[in-house]
Symmetry: C2
Subunit: 180 residues, 2 copies
């Protein structure tokens, strides 16, 4: 029903089914991973009114499983790319794999998919840093960053009348910052 | 041999084979696409010493096919994520699909995979903006952008002695830009 692909590696299409509604892929050497793609194979759709929540699970330094909600796949949106790099320092989320006791190996993480009612999925909030869609608003992001910068720099702006004499300090005309 | 996945959509695993060494996936509604994943199914490896160059092909306003080299898949790196949004204004690259005369439909793009000698692939340069790995060096990227900005802004820097009197123009001390 599901496939999983670590960018750069071979696709996996045979998750371990750990419960009637729960599927797990092992992700070896997870510390060298940037992106993971989770997708439905297209063979079996979700039952009407249901979808899948996608979790990333990795062992914390003491070997305990930390679960983080990455996002969702549904019949309407049957695939998603998640950014994994940068998740490792985050806190765990609530998750439905509690009783599974999946064996934890230091370098092996898991992708867990839990089939649930769509209305339940709608109440769950994925880890923000996992959304690759944020990448798509790259221009927007950099624009916001530059706006922040202009606001920051402007707070230091002076006119010549306000300057204390100091012939060696260099000044940048504020409109240069704006134009850039 | 190959699969193709548009983020958010169903996976495709049956490309059209347009020549012995060339495979094409149709990508409908390509203007609303951000990322495309291309991967080997894992059933048949490339012949020894060979790999695949991956092209994105879309129709320009006059309906002519524009091909852009996104990157590569090989037996050692059998999958890759490419960023498609932002490619549409770019120039076409040299490509090996010249004689194919693939039908161009206004909203349908193609992913083309050409099986070639690895030593030929090594001489090809993909479109820089297609690399999702650049996303991973996000901090590096913004740092570079800010360095560029500082260099740009500094070229306008003046000391008080060089200023022409204009009491209304605002100036930002250059060290504020550096500190940020």
């Amino acid at each position: 029903m599901f496939g999983c692909l670590v960018a750069g590696r071979l696709v996996q299409a045979a998750p371990q089914q750990v419960a009637e509604d729960k599927f797990v892929f092992d992700i070896p050497d997870y510390e060298n991973i940037n992106h993971i793609v989770v997708f439905m194979l297209g063979t079996i759709p979700f039952p009407e009114g249901m979808g899948g929540s996608v979790y990333f699970c990795y062992p914390d330094p003491s070997g305990m499983a930390v679960w983080q909600l990455l996002g969702f796949v549904t019949n309407e949106k049957p695939s998603a790319i998640f950014k994994i790099s940068g998740l490792k320092s985050g806190k765990g989320s609530q998750h439905p794999f509690g009783a599974m006791n999946l064996p934890q190996t230091p370098t092996v993480a898991q992708i867990g998919i839990s089939v649930e009612l769509l209305e339940n999925l709608a109440q769950q909030t994925p880890v923000a840093s996992a959304a690759v869609s944020s990448v798509d608003s790259f221009t927007e992001f950099t624009q916001k960053m530059l706006d922040n910068f202009y606001n920051f720099a402007s707070s230091f702006a002076v006119t010549q009348a306000q300057m204390t004499p100091n012939p060696s300090e260099a000044f940048i005309p504020a409109n240069v910052v704006l134009k850039w």
